[in-house]
């Protein structure tokens, strides 16, 4: 991208995965940076960012679709593609001449253009591809046991080795929904990278930004001190460690306890909610039924005196084999 002067950066948002749009809502709550900050060009040295989001776009209707068509024709460059919601298996619906999720119609045939079709057309042309939320990243709730749509994550559709035009893998910002700032910071870092100003955000082996998902929930939990002393909550509302009430914090990668939910307010275990693992590939099935003591925790709960190093290796193993792994990945 080096020589060509970049006048505008487009962020193309697709909210027509199978999702609830909670991710969009979460992003509108972000304050660090806020969506207005980025759109108004309040990042120094950054050209205007044009967010094409069905929720916030000034343009709508055919004007809005036209952005996606232009991107397909290679006329929007550079653009960052964002998917919210999981990817359904359209081959099932197709057998009955129907569809699960679609976005716009083909002008000739009046047939809906499915989300899957758009993704295949747009992803190879994008400077970077971001999957926002657990749905888009790993499949999430629509991909849970019994689901009729055989839903999956974006990585499952495009392949693990997919690389965007900038040479980046799919960037996954999971969470159901993700904390808004985690997404906005990732985008800000990416924009700076597209401009050649900063290195791209550091990603882990599953494409997650390390600044947000490099540590476990427990590592940032204000109740960890209680756990260290071996005191556990006996009922909801209590102030001690929540492991006894089914919290999964020790094997869940998430920074929400440290950064708070919105503007520093709220969160999960810091507020009293046992972590249900909503950022993880195994969510929800690997963590369900929620609020029940998990066998994984028996070690900690029974043998509070175990050295940290033993607990740590047991936890790493749980993540590898269960929580940090989608049931789709054999």
């Amino acid at each position: 991208m080096g020589e060509k002067k970049i006048e505008k950066i487009y962020v193309l948002w697709m909210s027509t995965g199978l999702g609830c749009d909670g991710c969009s809502i979460s992003v509108t709550g972000a304050t660090n940076p806020s969506i207005e900050d980025v759109l108004a060009g309040r990042l120094p040295g950054v050209p205007p960012v044009v967010l094409v989001h069905p929720v916030l776009a000034v343009e709508a209707g055919e004007d809005l679709i036209e952005y996606y068509r232009k991107a397909e024709r290679g006329e929007l460059d550079p653009f960052v593609l964002v998917l919210e919601g999981s990817v359904p298996d359209e081959s099932i619906a197709e057998k009955q001449q129907g569809w699960w999720a679609a976005f716009g119609f083909d002008k000739q045939t009046y047939k809906p253009i499915t989300t899957v079709e758009w993704l295949k057309r747009l992803a190879p042309k994008a400077a970077a591809v971001i999957a926002i939320g657990t749905c888009a990243a790993w499949g999430g709730i629509p991909a849970a046991r019994n689901n009729p749509t055989n839903a999956m994550g974006l990585m499952d559709l495009l392949g693990k080795d997919f690389k965007s035009k900038l040479g980046l893998p799919i960037i996954n910002v999971p969470g159901c929904p993700p904390q808004g700032d985690n997404f906005m910071k990732t985008v800000a870092l990416l924009i700076l990278a597209v401009l050649g100003l900063s290195p791209p955000p550091e990603l882990d082996e599953l494409g997650r930004p390390v600044f947000a998902y490099g540590e476990t929930n427990r590592q940032g939990c204000p109740r960890a001190g209680f756990a260290e002393e071996g005191t556990y909550a006996q009922e909801f509302g209590a102030k001690e460690c929540l492991l006894s009430l089914g919290c999964w914090g020790p094997v869940v990668k998430c920074n929400v306890n440290r950064v708070g939910w919105i503007n520093g307010v709220g969160g999960v275990t810091n507020m009293g909610g046992p972590c249900i693992g909503c950022t993880m590939p195994g969510f929800p099935d690997a963590f369900s039924p929620f609020y029940t003591r998990q066998s994984e925790h028996m070690l900690s709960l029974r043998f509070g005196f175990l050295p940290g190093s033993i607990k740590k290796s047991a936890r790493l193993n749980t993540m590898k084999t269960k929580t940090d792994k989608s049931p789709r990945w054999k």
Binding site: V55, E59, I141, I262, G266, P289
Partner: protein, 603 residues
Amino acid sequence: MCLDKLSPEECKELDPPGSQSSNVREIFWDPVSRVAGDLAFYVKVDLNARKVIEARSVAALFRGYEVILRGRDPRDAAMISSRACGVCGGVHSVTSVMAQEMAYGVTPPPLAVVMRNLAGAAEMMYDHPLHLFLLAGPDYSAAIVSKTNPTLYETAKKTPAEHRDIHGFSTIGDLMEALNPLSGKLYLEAIQITRIAREMFSLMLGRYPHPSTLVPGGVSTTLRPDLFTDYLVRLTKIYDWAKTVALIWEDLVNFFYKEVPEYENVGKASKINIICGGIYDDPELAESGDLYKYDKAKEWGERRMVTPGVIKDGQLETTSLIDANVGLEEFVTHSYYEEWEKQPKILEKDPLGNPLSVDHPWNKITIPKPGPLNWREKYTWDTAPRWNKLVVETGGGPLARHWLTAIANKIPSNPFIKAGGGRLKITVPKGATLPEMELEWKVPKVINALERNRARAYHIPYVIGVAMNFLLKAFEYLRAGKTKVWNKFEIPREGIGVGFYEAGRGWLSHHLIIKDYKIYNYQIITPSTINASPRDPLDQPGPYEEAALNTPIVEKFTTPEQFTGIDILRSIRSFDPCMPCTVHMFTGGRVITRDVTTCACSI
């Protein structure tokens, strides 16, 4: 528009060639994008007669939550069903825990009821600004009105705003300017207000959307002494804003009526048929243990701070949640689901012995069956909920809540809201710049787009009253040492539950049946399931469809190409289909355009 599977002959019959004359326009906004569930909307408009002659509402996305919930541990229901909608990001889990509490036979402690009420009020303080200024607002902004009704905009610029001393905008034109998307003062302010409200919600239930500290039996929020004061500090920041919002919309609505009397018919409902779930429970009933018992649903429902019930043809039909529940049916004649009549009926009767239809949500079985779009057969992923075969609407939420509350005269006495005789009197405390004020809302003559919006503007002060009332309760409980927030429960082998509540945009119910300690059936009826519904077996159109059909074309245009259909969009948006979108409809031939929004119409 002939879509799929119809032979050319059938097409001709449905769409006689004459109807394709240059003055009949077909518009298909597709898929009505974004917030939780995609809505597409099709209309056929006769531009000579200035009439909408056909309207179809299409939910264009299916996810399968009800199917996914089957066979799971019932405790998973709140967390999973919450993800049905991220815009109504708190109400689903609350409704779900209420349904579970009924099935488990547990009552939350009073303070937990208070905390849920405070969270519920905060959710409305986030939801209504979002709709009024990011979704509906742009429809009334200078940017839009100056294009679609230029003379009206000129008049607006010269018309002084009645309440200018309070809201600070001298003319209606200034107000319209402030409503401009992305740049207007009101638009930008509203985003900030939604954040403050979401912080308030998070103080009570952990986070928004998809609360992290809500559990059956109460809440799991760890009580810190500053939780309620932190909430109050944020609430005080909204006092003055709420007063101005009510009066801003009062001025706007009155201006439209005065200048264009036909506005009375824009988005009009043919009959005044309303359903409301009621919201904000009386914590005192938690102490007696009556709360969320099915056989006591009439009593606890009528003690809510917003009265539940049904209005039929303008008359109060019932305020009993049991009646509201028993009359519910969901039809799939025009929806991409299979009928379930052949399956054994799950429940013949409700727990009180009232007979239940096979189409009642407790008996409904979700069997998805995707297929092509066909106006005469199946055209949506939404179902058609009806009440005793009647098409009812939710008034976009606040209109139903106000109407029921104002005529039923049942809410518990409190220092902030007086209801009765078709009026609501709301006292909003003194804020940083404005004194304490009493605002009054009156039952209107009709249900239409403007009234849905006006009611929504008054609902922000209303929920401030609700929040104040329950904050005082919270402090009372804290003083009395009643600090318990959770009661233990056991999951029964068999159980039946239903939760009734209100999302921002209206009625919400979750129906649950437990067998062998597992979820046997789980059904959700959202306000948009009701409002965006297709035709039913009696061929009655759903509320969006009906509102579009009743809408006169008052927009100014000289050539058909200039026609935007703004008033049809105003109608649909007044139901609060979740998030902002701007007006852009394209005419000329078969134009396909993507616009508008809805919320969770397909679960």
